[in-house]
Symmetry: C2
Subunit: 217 residues, 2 copies
DNA sequence: TGCATAATCTTTGTATACAACACAATTTTA
DNA sequence: TAAAATTGTGTTGTATACAAAGATTATGCA
């Protein structure tokens, strides 16, 4: 991390801990403790928390504390509703500008991952590349902001449901490979449709996982 | 304004001044001056500015000052790109839940405004009701956040181009009336299409206005 | 014991003091 | 005269002290 100011440093560290579930959903944090942990004063920590609150990653309860946001099924529906609406259209609008060499590299990675035993971490990385490329390809700051926010939420969700989502990973690779192939063939409408289908199936899988997780608890 | 804390009070006041062009695009503000103006310390002002920066209404330049964001044609395209993508789909997803009586009231207002001489302020209010209703109807917090942001930008834009946009207001009323009629008839697909057309025409008009404004300066 | 009430403790909210940096103006030097 | 170094001023960045409010514990009384 190469943050120029302490506010960003605090933001990055706290967000990292929330997304990786080091801070559990529902857990209470407090500003003093966080500032000691990060090694800065309360001021940049507060600024970071304000930012995180707008991204729905924490909830500041006046005079009480800061709660790490929980994720429920309604949240998952919200997240995927945004993705299903935006990502196909971002393909239609911006996919043309994506470097073909980059897409080839991604394709290679997806294909090779299907024939080798990779750790969950590595598989997840490959899984997120494609969506990250779309996020980077789009030149609209409002899209970028909202998509970045839902991706962060999505990553946390993914780790929460890591145990059961493994069944879905190979299927995800197949769907991603299809999308990349269509992008390489400059067939953006078909790629957008494939993306929509992929997201619908991911959403369904996430909801199923979350229901199982909630039953277990 | 009934803000519980000073951060929100500062946010509301500064935003009001930016949107109403009391603070001109490109103008430099500073935290001390703002805090004196509002009657609070620098802390809540800074928190408000952080928020406004994320909404693209100001730009904080380290150790230099706070600049009120300018609006250029690229920004207009970004704003309308978001609206054109989201608002028609929000109609498809959520219009069913809008209270029909509310729509009737809006319809009355639009119709009656066509036969009377209203101030620009009043006309604008009627003009924004329909979009505000859609913003309220949608139950997805991520959509609400991004749409709220672009509406604020849009309002500022509208005031900037107030002189020339008057030609467009009566046309806007006709387009809005058509959308409301289709919503009342439960024809959501047609309403969504009408909304898309309306937004495309509004965007075109805004770009034209902005080009004229920029030439004049 | 059970309950109301007071005292205390923990937490965020706000104000303020000081540090660090950027830029401009001024002075010094070649 | 021109360029470089220095100083001064204004700004945000950060730390910290104190205020306010809510939660928790302790206390006193029936």
């Amino acid at each position: 991390m190469r943050e120029s100011n302490l506010k960003e440093k605090a933001y990055a560290k706290i967000k990292e801990n929330i997304i990786s579930l080091a801070y559990a959903p529902g857990e209470f944090l407090n500003e003093t403790q966080l500032s000691e942990e990060i090694g800065v004063s309360r001021t940049p920590v507060r600024e970071a928390l304000n930012h995180l609150e707008k991204e729905n990653l924490v909830r500041v309860i006046p005079k009480r504390g800061v709660m790490v946001s929980e994720i429920n099924i309604a949240d998952i529906m919200d997240i995927y509703q945004v993705r299903e609406l935006l990502e196909p259209d971002i393909i239609r609008l911006y996919a043309k500008s994506i470097d073909k060499l980059l897409l080839e590299t991604i394709r290679e990675k997806i294909i090779s991952s299907q024939h080798s035993q990779l750790s969950y971490e590595e598989q997840y990385k490959i899984d997120s590349i494609l969506h990250q490329v779309l996020l980077d390809a789009n030149r609209n700051k409002y899209f970028a902001a909202v998509l970045g926010t839902v991706f962060d939420q999505n990553q946390r969700l993914r780790i929460m449901t890591a145990r059961t989502i493994k069944e879905r990973l190979s299927q995800t690779h197949i769907e991603h490979a299809r999308i990349v192939d269509l992008l390489l063939a400059d067939d953006y409408d078909a790629a957008a449709d494939a993306m929509l289908l992929h997201l619908k199936q991911s959403c369904e899988a996430s909801v199923q996982c979350m229901m199982r997780v909630q039953v277990e608890q």
